[in-house]
């Protein structure tokens, strides 16, 4: 029996290892750091990242959730952004273009939303909210609880996947055109000229944008379900 393993598995493991090594290095640097010194280098980078994440999280949720949600949002940022731009480093199977990865991330987010909603509104109010405005609306309310899983996961998945497909189509077309040039026909000269700008959009800008949207939606969905004070 031959066991087939998707190529994505190796890139997922690779991203995880790279992220873990990077975080260990930052942890070393932070432990050596004296709080009364002026931060510079890696420590400054880490502090700025944490400050930015804290500022975006704090606007929508209360202080108690903020303590626990901040690290999750930070790790989402690191993982999704690094995965999305990993196409630039020559990885063919980008982790976020595998539906299992994005579905897992979306399920974690939706479980967090429902858990926090039940915890801060009280179980009684939470169950009561399922039957609003009348008893017959139960199936619709259940569907509206499930639909964020589909929309969150497919948004990230489809954006990153379509970027990869368009880039590979572009390389094929450009190698077809450059095969008409005599002498250097085997060298893909048009691809070298056209590709960098499109890589900038489809890998870098699109990856950053989708990461921002995914994390913002996580924060906003959690904040929306909380009771208004």
């Amino acid at each position: 029996m031959v066991v087939k393993v998707q190529a994505h598995v190796f890139s997922i493991l690779l991203i995880t290892v790279v992220l873990a090594v990077f975080l260990v290095i930052i942890n070393r640097a932070l432990k050596k750091f004296d709080p009364f010194d002026e931060p510079k280098g890696l420590v400054l980078l880490a502090l700025m990242a944490v400050e930015t994440v804290d500022k975006t999280v704090r606007t929508d949720v209360n202080d108690e959730i903020f303590e626990n949600l901040g690290p999750y949002i930070g790790s989402l940022w690191g993982y999704i952004f690094l995965s999305s731009i990993s196409g630039l480093f020559g990885i063919q199977a980008v982790p976020t273009s595998n539906y299992s990865v994005t579905l897992t991330l979306a399920i974690i987010t939706v479980i967090l939303v429902e858990y926090n909603s039940a915890r801060y509104n009280g179980i009684k109010n939470y169950v009561h909210g399922l039957f609003e405005p009348v008893f017959l609306f139960l199936p619709m309310n259940l569907i509206s609880k499930i639909s964020p899983v589909i929309s969150l996961s497919l948004r990230l998945f489809a954006n990153i996947l379509s970027g990869g497909i368009i880039m590979s189509l572009l390389y094929t077309a450009m190698s077809f055109f450059s095969s008409y040039i005599p002498l250097i026909g085997t060298f893909n000269i048009f691809g070298v000229v056209v590709a960098p700008i499109l890589h900038m959009y489809f890998d870098l800008i699109s990856g950053l944008l989708q990461t921002f949207i995914f994390t913002s939606l996580t924060i906003i969905f959690i904040g929306k379900e909380l009771p208004q004070e």
Binding site: I150, S151, L154, R155, A158, L217, I219, I220, K224
Partner: protein, 74 residues
């Protein structure tokens, strides 16, 4: 023959993005306008704009889902 018809159906399913484009454009336009009117509320406006764009994008995402299902299942 059958594969070709399925491919055409999948391409038609992605056409729901046509309306979504206008919807998201109008969300962005209104957000920019209201930030111009009162810049101090920009944090709230940004989160509302992202939610609005995300919800109106859902239709396009369902179109993508149907296209993927058409290609992979049949």
């Amino acid at each position: 023959m059958e594969r070709g018809i399925i491919a055409i159906a999948a391409a038609l399913a992605v056409w729901v993005g046509f309306g979504t484009t206008f919807a998201e454009g109008s969300v962005a336009r209104q957000a920019v306008e209201s930030i111009g009117k009162n810049p101090e509320a920009s944090d709230k406006i940004r989160s509302m704009a992202i939610v609005g764009a995300a919800i109106s994008e859902t239709v396009a995402i369902y179109g993508t889902l149907i296209a993927i299902l058409l290609i992979l299942v049949f």
